[in-house]
Each structure stands twice: as C-alpha cells, then as structure tokens.
C-alpha cells in the first residue's frame, strides 16, 4: 500500500462487452480509475456491475474490448492480475466453518504472504475489522457486518494495490455501513485503488467518483457533485402544498421552471436559478389562485440523479434509433 507518486490509471476499461448468449450484460463500457481513487459503481440489481467487476478479477472472460488492471492486460495474464488485487464478492465467500484466524491464515498462505510477516498482517486485519477478541470464533457465528469486515480483512491481507468490492455493505446495518466506508477511505488514503459497487444510491456520496450503470451501459461518470449538476441541469426546489395536482400543472407552465414532479407529499421543482424562483414563484401561483406552503432549496439525492440520467439516456437512444 505504498502511495503512488504519479496519478497513473490502475484500472483501464475500453469498450468492454460481455454477452451471455443473446443477453448483453455489459454494453461497450469504457472508464478508468486512478491510483488511490475510490470509484463507485451505482445501479440497480442486474445492471451489470458485478459482471464488470468479475471480468476485472479474471473470473469471467470479456466478449470484446480491453481490460487492464495494474497495467496488465487481463486477456494476456489473468494470474498476474490476481496477484495484485483483493476481491470481496457479492455473496459472502469466506469459510463459515473456519474461525476468523483460520480464514486469515488460509488467505495468507494462498497469497504467499511471507511467514515472518503473517502474524503482523493478521493482527492488522483483525484490528482493522474490529475483530480483536474474536480470533477463534467460527465465522458462521459472526453478525453480517463483522463478516463483511473480515472479508475486507482477508482481501487486503496481502496488501494488494487494487481492491474490488462487490456490494460490500449489502445486508449490513447503517452504523456498520458507515464504519465500513471509513475503512475504505483509510485504505484509499494509503494509495489503494478501490472499485466498489453498491445499490444504495446514497453511498455514492462516499466515493471520489461514481459510475452510473443501467442495463449494462455506463450512463454517466463523475464526482457526486458533477453528476448532480449534469443530471439536473439546474437547481432543485421543494414545494409543499395542499393541491398537488393543480400546482403541478401551473408550475409546469411557469417561467424559469424546467421540470416539476411529485415527490412524496410535495413537489420537486427544477429551476434555472433557485434564489429567483423562490422569490417569484409564490406570487406567480397566488395570481392563479393557488396557495403553497414551504418553498425551499434542496440538494438532489443521487437517486434523483440516477432516475433523470436513465430517462435522458433512454430518450437519447430512442432518438438515435
């Protein structure tokens, strides 16, 4: 985990395609991840996130395109890649009938961690995962969050420069999730490149950059702030009111309003300039005889961003077709 001096790309994917029969799981995806960067993969289940990660770990062969990890072409030398990566699969895949320490020893042996260094590395992994005192507990008896942290411990035992984490926080309670992300940040701070997938949209906020993936396609990629701006093309206001329907209809015609949609018991209104809209919209609606309650700027959730970008993507593809 030596920090890189250059910002050289550790993961490079160009025009990656994976087909299972007629089904296209990965559809011409290109991106790259720099050293020490946390790249998030966002998307619903079945979007193709796991498939891309599995290709990058050498578990699946790509149908087309190029995938390079740590500068090594996966098609040429998958073993070379395997030595330099740590992987946490979506499904828990440590040995439940082995203890915490036995699992760590096993992976230490598999990755050929020198015997002299192994006790110290195991100590590090146990401390990092917060499993001190549980070294001799069978993994099956650990709660989900502990199991996931142990899995991360096993994945970093051999100090790989690149980590692939496939939905590491799925099924983990919120406090443990928070702690897990702290661990990922600590690793990235030391120069480890992390590619992590999640279907919790809010978790993208923890990533340096996030890639939105839907139906095998990379829809957008960028920092959370960039994604929000690009997706919305403006600023978002929350409007509370009694008569949702009429207000919605009126706002859609209002000047400076780009879009308006129902969000729970309120409206989300996309405007060019939030400050101006806050000042003008109540008067505009009052003139039409419509009363509204609170009107306030809100920061978009990445869920909003995702929905918008997917819709825009679909529209683009229809146009192209």
């Amino acid at each position: 985990m030596t920090a890189g001096t250059s910002a050289q790309a550790q993961i490079v994917v160009e025009d990656l395609v994976k087909r299972f029969g007629k089904f296209v799981a990965v559809d011409h995806v290109s991106f790259s991840v720099q050293r020490g960067e946390i790249m998030g993969f966002l998307g619903p289940n079945g979007a193709g996130k796991s498939t891309i990660i599995r290709i990058l770990c050498g578990l699946l062969r790509a149908t087309g395109g190029i995938a390079r990890v740590a500068g090594i072409d996966l098609a040429r030398d998958p073993e070379g890649v395997r030595q330099r990566i740590g992987y946490m699969s979506q499904k828990f895949s440590l040995y439940r009938d082995l203890t915490v320490e036995e699992n760590l020893r096993f992976f230490g042996g598999i990755y050929r961690v020198p015997a002299k260094e192994l006790p110290e590395r195991i100590r590090f992994a146990i401390d990092m995962a917060g499993l001190a005192g549980r070294e001799h507990a069978l993994v099956a008896t650990l709660a989900g969050g502990w199991q996931q942290r142990l899995a991360l411990g096993c994945a970093v035992l051999h100090r790989p420069p690149i980590l692939f984490l496939d939905e590491p926080t799925s099924g983990v309670e919120p406090t443990s999730r928070r702690r897990f992300w702290d661990l990922i940040h600590a690793l990235a701070a030391e120069g480890v490149t992390v590619l992590v997938s999640t279907h919790y949209m809010d978790e993208a906020e923890y990533c340096h950059r996030a890639a939105l993936i839907n139906q095998g396609r990379l829809i957008a990629i960028g920092s959370p702030a960039e994604l929000k701006h690009r997706a919305l093309g403006g600023e978002l206001l929350l409007v509370e009111c009694e008569a949702l329907g009429p207000v919605l209809a009126a706002l859609q015609q209002a000047p400076g309003v780009k879009d308006c949609s129902v969000f729970g018991s309120a409206l989300h209104v996309l405007v060019n300039d939030a400050a101006r809209a806050r000042a003008e919209l109540p008067g505009y609606l009052a003139a039409k005889g419509l009363q509204i309650g609170r009107i306030a700027p809100i920061s978009a959730s990445l869920e909003d961003v995702f929905v918008r970008l997917v819709a825009a993507d679909l529209a683009n593809r229809k146009e192209a077709a």
Binding site: F20, R54, C57, G58, L59, L60, R61, P78, E79, R82, Q83, I85, Y87, S89, K91, F92, S93, L94, Y95, R96, D97, L98, E102, R105, F106, F107, G108, G109, I110, Y111, R112, C154
Partner: protein, 378 residues
C-alpha cells in the same frame, strides 16, 4: 507448484473435515460396515448342500452309497423319504437341492450286469448351484463305483494295481483349501476403497461451488494443480485409515493369509488410493452440484468395479469385448495386486505390470483433473 499454497489448502481441508463429524463418520463407518456385510454375504463355496434320499431297495449296497453322501462335507442328508410324492414335495418346498433315488434292482443289476444307475433329481432354479451339486454327486458316485470295481476284482483274484484307473494328482497352490473367502475378501478391499475413495473427493469442489467460496478462491493466484494436491492430501490420509481398517479386518477377522510384506501393501495401496481419489476429484471438477457429483461417483465406481474388476467374476471367463473393457477398470489392477500380495506373498517386482498400469492411470487422471479445472465462473 508452491508448497505454501498447497499447505494452506490442505490445512483448511483438514479443519473442514474435522468440523463435519457426520461426513467423517460416514467415511470411517462405511468401509467398516461394507467389509462385514459383503465379507459374510459373498461366499461362492457350496458346502452342506441339502439332500433327500429315496432308497427303493434298502440293501447293504444302496446304504453304502447313501452313507457316502452323508459323510461328504458337501452334502447334508436332510431327509430319507419313502415315496416319489414325498420326494417331489421336498424338492418343491426347496427342502433339498438334490434328491438321490436308488432303484429297487440296484444290487441285482450291479452283480448281474456289472452296471447300474442311480437317479439324481436336481433343483436347477439356480443353475450354478445345480451344476456344482451335480458334479459333486457324480464324484461321490464314481468313488463308490471304483471301490465296487476294486472289491469285485479282488474277488476274482486279480491284482489290484492292474485295474487301478489312472489318476491325476492335483496340488492346489496359494489357496490350498480353495476357500472362496480367501480370494473374495482381498478383492472386496479393492472394491470398497474404490467406492469410498471416489465418494470422499467427489464433493470437495462442488461443496465450494455450492457454498459460494469458490468465487473468492478462483480470484486468488492459486493454481489448479496446487488446489488439487492440497485437496487430495488430507483425503489420502483418510484413505489410509480406511484401507488399514479393511486390511486388518481381512487379515485378522476373516483370517485371509497375508503372505506379502506390509511395505508392498502400503506402496500399492497408496498408489491405488491416489487413482481412486483422483477419479473422485475429476468428477468434482466436472460436476458442480454436490448431489450430482455424489451420484455420478457412485455410478462410475459401483457397477464397473463390482462386475468388471475380477473380484468375484473372473476376467478370463468374460466375452472378449468385455475382457478388453476391463483394462479401463482401475480396480482390476489393484484386485490383481492385493490378491497376489495376500495369497502369493508377491513383491513389487512380481507386480510390475499392474503397478505400471495404475501409475499411468494416476498420471492421466491427475493431468485431466488439473487441465479440466478452469478458474472461471462461466
């Protein structure tokens, strides 16, 4: 191949087997039970064949003949009947396999015509038993016939030696009592090890697939050959224990004479275990579900080893095509080896041919298994 990885895998396997007492019990108890069940179940010897007699004459001569049946260790005279109806009934009820009927003019024709006949009624529902019983009966009757001839000649004042028929003196080697147990039991050890061994390893990879641990394992730099050796070593230990069980039962309980050395036994048994465990591992590579792998392992070991290994059914009496087929049955080589070690006291030089065949088998199976294992999910 890196020793550190092989060791890590072997230790992990040992821990997993150790923590699963149920499958450990099966691995230990199965050969134990099979040795006793099959060891007692399979006996090809016919002794104490039940016989009914119907003496229609009741003379000294006829009783002399019947006494020979009673005295033979192959026959038990269970009943003397007085009419045909009773005889038929006895055969029908399977009270006897063989009925001997002595005609009312037995002695008369013997002294006047010098020749006479005896009727043998056989229950041939099991033709093998009937054949053997018939030939034993023939032997008893011809023995009687010779004696009659000899005493008749003596009465005529002829020299005994002149009419003494030529006899072939046969000496049976290696299994002097022609006790079938002595050749069935060593073969049985081979069959049981073939069955149990393949079962042991056939689940080792499918378990990892089904529990989801394989996905992580194949993302590591572990090589297929390292995985194979690491996984086979602990089961070789288990196989040794099973083999020791079977061999001790064979030698001590069933008292099969062990004339070879323990060293020869150890070397050849280890080689056979490697083949058998390798077959199970190959199945494990090819079939990713535990149930499927276990079924296939049973299918490919059970019938061929039972029928074609030569442990009960002699290979040289098989049709030519089937006989060629037996060269593919790895158990046949170990059946040959272990019978020779037990009964002949054969050493390794005498067993070179079957040992070479087993070596080739082991190499091919290992190579196939290592090649067939792909570190990929699709």
């Amino acid at each position: 191949m890196r020793l550190q990885r092989v060791k890590a895998i072997a230790i992990k396997e040992v821990l997993q087997v150790w923590r699963d007492p149920r499958s450990l019990m099966v691995a230990m108890a199965m050969p134990f039970m099979q040795m006793f069940l099959l060891g007692y179940g399979i006996s090809l010897d016919l002794k104490h064949i039940p016989v009914c007699t119907f003496d229609r004459e009741g003379s000294q001569n006829s009783q002399d003949l019947l006494k020979r049946f009673a005295a033979s260790r192959y026959f038990d005279v269970v009943r003397n009947v007085r009419d045909y109806a009773a005889l038929t009934a006895a055969v029908d009820r399977a009270d006897c396999k063989l009925a001997i009927v002595i005609p009312p003019d037995f002695s008369e024709r013997l002294s006047n015509a010098g020749t006479t006949s005896v009727q043998a009624v056989l229950d041939a529902t099991d033709d093998n038993t009937a054949n053997i019983a018939y030939s034993y009966a023939l032997a008893v009757v011809s023995g009687f016939s010779t004696d009659v001839q000899v005493s008749w000649s003596a009465q005529q004042g002829r020299v005994l030696a002149q009419i003494q028929p030529m006899t072939a003196q046969s000496r049976v080697w290696f299994n002097e009592d022609l006790d079938s147990r002595n050749f069935v039991i060593p073969g049985l050890v081979a069959v049981i090890l073939a069955l149990v061994g393949a079962q042991l390893t056939s689940l080792t990879l499918s378990r990892e697939w089904e529990r989801g641990t394989m996905e992580l394992l194949i993302s590591t730099p572990v090589k297929p050959s390292e995985l194979m050796v690491g996984k086979l070593l602990p089961y070789l230990g288990l196989g040794w224990i099973d083999a020791a069980f079977c061999l001790v039962i064979a030698a001590l309980w069933f008292a099969v004479p062990l004339r070879g050395t323990l060293f020869t036994l150890f070397v050849t048994t280890t080689l056979f275990l490697v083949v058998v465990l390798g077959i199970g591992y190959l199945i494990s590579v090819l079939i990713r579900s535990q149930l499927g792998a276990s079924q296939i392992a049973l299918l490919v070991t059970m019938l061929p080893t039972n029928l074609l290994s030569g442990y009960v059914f002699p290979i040289d009496q098989m049709p030519a095509v089937v006989e060629k087929l037996t060269y593919l049955i790895y158990a046949r080589y170990y059946v040959t080896i272990i019978k020779a070690i037990f009964l002949k006291g054969a050493g390794i030089p005498a067993l070179a041919t079957p040992i070479i065949f087993l070596l080739i088998y082991a190499a091919v199976v290992m190579l196939l298994a290592a090649r067939a294992f792909r570190k990929a999910l699709d």
